[in-house]
Symmetry: D2
Subunit: 134 residues, 4 copies
């Protein structure tokens, strides 16, 4: 199991007329958490792309429990429970500053070779950094 | 079964550096489809809120199949298969102008009384418009 | 003078906790209006890019007069008053369904050759469609 | 003169198909900078709203010089040069991690009493924190 935690402060423009963070914006928070997760384990998402690998999202699930509000400081916990193959699966938990669980989510992303457009295995230079943890 | 179809043209700002519609933006497309669905069946979402009912999203699922690109004209099909109770469940299918299926999704929303903050049954004035179809 | 009008219905996710359309979202509405403007005069923005020309925005101004609300149907009027050279300048006016003027804006965009990254003159195939109007 | 600096890392979803941060997203970066500015000087934007004052944006200007890219770490400098009255005026400068100036901007916001909907003077509890600097 590998885990990272990322802090995100809610922006005004991310709220909607209910006063809550708009439900679609958590996809972006999850993305930020993935970016920081990957960085923590020695690679950057940007570098993956520079090496010709892109990671489109294959599936997204969110279960909303409580809303987040403007100026809340959220902690987005991202976890992978298995070594990535062609796919990499992340689980997320979002907490507010009172440690209340706001939502849980999942995404699956696919490693794709930008030239061929075909799925490929997770690149070695990425796996090397993380396989010791499994 | 009740169904509506909504056309949405992809905006430049909705794409990301991959050239695809950013995965999180479909949540907004689904929302537009829900708004038009409800309007088609005689109520507006806005009216629901004016009558003291809000509809926060409880869960979201998206399965991404193919990407959408800038200036594509998408058709977002929204369907409900059962009469809403405290919850209303929508299924979505998004097609592009070539009739390719781009993604399928689901959301569950909860009817909430704005004053009490408690879940309530779908209001009669809304059900009246749709129950004939079940 | 060349003018186009585009209708945009305000999405829920475009509002903020004040209940207004978030001030930054008008940039996207202006973009939609530009896209439709260009289409009206025989080219598509997408085609421009396919022909190796991109149009980054050089400056933006917005003067906010009244807010827009969820589900409002806005009319975005885009105007160009002079034949584009290296730059193309648009003026915008946004009205709601009651014909109230909500804001006025301006953008200047630059024609850039994607290969060289250098500014270039507006391409002939684009000018051909519009120069008759000046 | 009062100044604050805020760091913002560019999110994937904030880029567009050109690979640049979408021009409309700087409005949100400026908002984040304003929020941090106000916090630095002893109040929070949220608190202002809780005390019945809202601050809708009256005008926005952006002059784009260079693009920002995914994963860039931006510094958004926000400055006020005069004591706020009914209006508060901010100037912004956005730099990337190489200290290149990416854009400069301005916003004017108006203090509005939420109950009456009328413009009001900047509240004393806010001015008290900043007037020593003028």
């Amino acid at each position: 199991m590998l885990q990272s935690e990322t802090k995100i402060r809610v922006r005004y423009g991310e709220t909607d007329k209910m006063g809550y963070v708009y439900y679609g914006n958590y996809a972006q928070y999850y993305e930020v958490a993935r970016t920081e997760f990957v960085r923590k384990y020695g690679v950057t998402y940007k570098e993956l792309e520079e090496r010709g690998i892109m990671l489109p999202v294959n599936s997204l699930k969110v279960k909303y429990i409580k809303p987040a509000f403007y100026d809340d400081v959220l902690t987005v916990q991202a976890t992978i429970n298995e070594l990535p193959g062609i796919r990499i699966h992340f689980d997320y938990k979002v907490f507010n500053q009172n440690n209340e669980l706001l939502n849980v989510g999942e995404t699956t992303l696919v490693f794709v070779d930008m030239k061929t457009g075909k799925p490929v295995k997770a690149p070695e230079f990425f796996l090397d950094n993380i396989k010791q943890f499994f």
